[in-house]
């Protein structure tokens, strides 16, 4: 059942590609002359390159995996997220709302804005919230990457083979179980080693080349992944057992209208969709790895065009994996053995092992050779998201936490010191990732985990950012209160798994958190206004 078309040739393609991208990422470190080059690539990125890297950052392996997991379970309904993402890109790109002003301020990080508009305390607090939320958010990335590698390369079959061999040799049930456990442990170890090596490779080139490496590798990933996803889509649509009609038919027969209508009572529902619309809008503006593309842009016009041109990328990064997952559902529904594995309670119930479905489908329908190219592209996607995230959060730690604190004590950090501390932070986050990724269990909905951890930062920051730009009476006390309000989202992580799977409940909590942050911001701004800057300076 877990056999795939992945062969020795594919391993070689993957290895050559990864080593090549790694070397390229390291080589460009000679272009780093100052902290601006390291953190925002010298602000020299033009529209096409900025668009490619903007899409490349958002199109990570973890995005593909969580979109596939939810697509496998929710069908076409999940694509509503892609449409919401595309709409937010089109609106921001055509109006330049917030992003135009952000780029115009020549910032290097988003929290930097808070010191200019409010005060240093707000910047440091925003930096802490941003870094904590961001690092916890990427905590599942290694585990998702490991799941993909296991099932796309066919390593998932090892434990089954080992168990069968134990049984064939006439051994006892205990011996068969021991063989199965040993093979599973060996497979887990191998996958963890591969995942760790990938993270180390990312750490090496990100530490060396900063944003320049990120831009170069993200561009390469965009090229390979555009080809890879196109191939995956092609093989899926022309496959005699799959194809559009078969996929629609299988979903309709087993899962009914909820798989097509996102507002159906058994699907996501209106509350969740409204929460997501606000969430996507906030993420496009404030979520540092992607929002930083407005900061790396050559000018304000380029920043606007990046969001506008990147809008279809917002759709496909969720819709293509979801469609491939629907194809996987179609494939599973035709096999008794697979149905028993993925849907032990029946095809109309919730799936088990949903994360295995997409890599398994790709491993089975894409021929050897091309499969290596596709897996290389997806591993590059794994790396390119890590590099952007690592650089963003470590830049925030140094620029928005360490630097303002040292400045408070009268010490100025030089460019080289800032780069050094950013590099140290990158390594520390990398070590944390490996540890967190091993012990934290995979939640029922990876997307909800991502949305909730992101909310810790987004709920408060979007209010503080938009309020600061468009409301004259916004104050530092209001900003701190709103940012602190975002931590309410963390409570969701302690809900039971079944509660986390309740979309209406999640949507209500999410919306309530945005509303709470807005109320705190307004109330505290009115109750505790800032002293006028001139008066404060004169005191």
């Amino acid at each position: 059942m877990f056999e795939t078309n992945f062969t020795q040739i594919d391993w070689w393609i993957v290895a050559v590609y990864l080593v090549g991208v790694g070397i390229l990422g390291v080589v460009v470190h000679r272009y780093i002359h100052n902290v601006s080059d390291y953190i925002v690539g010298g602000r020299g990125s033009r529209t096409a390159l900025n668009t490619a890297t903007f899409i490349g950052t958002g199109l990570g392996l973890v995005t593909i995996m969580y979109a596939a997991i939810d697509g496998f379970k929710m069908g076409f309904s999940f694509m509503i997220l892609g449409l919401i993402g595309m709409m937010s890109g089109l609106i921001l790109g055509s109006t330049g709302f917030v992003i135009k002003r952000l780029r115009g301020l020549n910032l290097m990080t988003i929290p930097e804005y808070h010191e200019r508009r409010y005060n240093r305390g707000v910047r440091i607090f925003a930096g802490v919230v941003c870094a904590v939320a961001g690092i916890v958010n990427m905590g599942l990335f290694p585990k998702m990457g490991a799941t993909f590698i296991t099932y796309a390369t066919g390593m998932g079959r090892n434990e089954v083979v080992a168990a069968a061999e134990g049984g064939n040799a006439g051994a006892s049930d205990d011996a068969a179980r021991d063989a199965e456990a040993a093979a599973a442990a060996k497979q887990k170890f191998t996958v963890n080693v591969i995942t760790s090596l990938l993270i180390v490779l990312v750490l090496v080139y990100t530490v060396m080349g900063g944003m320049v490496s990120v831009i170069v590798t993200d561009y390469m990933q965009f090229v390979i992944l555009s080809i890879g996803l196109g191939l995956g889509l092609y093989f899926c649509l022309v496959h005699p057992d799959l194809g559009w009609e078969n996929m629609v038919g299988a979903l309709g027969e087993h899962r009914g209208e909820r798989a097509f209508n996102p507002f159906h009572k058994d699907s996501y529902g209106w509350v969740w969709a409204i929460w997501m619309a606000i969430h996507f809008f906030a993420a496009a503006i404030c979520w540092a790895p992607e929002a930083s593309r407005s900061l790396t842009a050559k000018d304000t016009r380029t920043a606007k065009r990046t969001f506008l041109a990147g809008a279809p990328g917002q759709f496909i990064r969720l819709a293509i994996p979801a469609l491939l997952a629907i194809a996987a559902f179609c494939m599973v529904s035709k096999s008794v053995e697979m149905t028993a594995h993925f849907f032990p309670e029946g095809l109309n119930k919730d799936p088990a092992h949903a994360g295995q479905a997409l890599p398994l489908l790709l491993g089975k329908i894409v021929p050897s050779g091309l499969l290596g190219l596709l897996v290389a592209g997806l591993m590059a996607a794994f790396m390119s998201t890590h590099d952007s995230y690592l650089l963003c959060w470590s830049s925030v730690i140094v620029r928005d936490i360490i630097e303002p604190i040292t400045r408070y004590f009268g010490l100025e950090l030089s460019d080289s010191q800032q780069i050094k501390y950013t590099r140290i932070s990158i390594v520390c986050i990398g070590v944390f990732l490996l540890a967190w990724g091993i012990w934290y269990p995979l939640p029922a909905s990876v997307w909800n985990y991502m949305a909730v951890t992101g909310s810790i930062y987004l709920c408060g920051t979007i209010v503080v950012l938009v309020g600061g730009m468009y409301w004259r009476r916004a104050s530092s006390a209001g900003a701190i209160a709103a940012l602190a309000g975002g931590f309410l989202s963390a409570a969701v992580l302690f809900l039971r798994q079944d509660q986390q799977g309740d979309m209406t409940l999640m949507g209500m909590i999410g919306l309530a958190n945005y509303a709470l942050c807005a109320i705190l911001f307004v109330v505290f701004s009115l109750l505790m206004p800032d002293k006028p800057k001139e008066a404060a300076a004169g005191e």
Binding site: H33, G44, M79, F260, I316
Partner: protein, 47 residues
């Protein structure tokens, strides 16, 4: 349900189509921009 099937079919055609057209444009122009970025960064201390 038939309405939703048609809706997703149109959404996929427009969404996927516009992305792959975008990719055809962005890949060569992005390479050109990458070279321009290297020239810009190569100017290092002069900037």
């Amino acid at each position: 349900m038939a309405g939703w099937v048609t809706f997703w079919k149109i959404a996929c055609i427009i969404g996927f189509g516009s992305f792959f057209v975008l990719a055809l444009v962005v890949i060569p122009l992005g390479a050109k921009d990458l070279l321009a970025l290297f020239r810009h960064l190569g100017g290092g201390e002069d900037r």
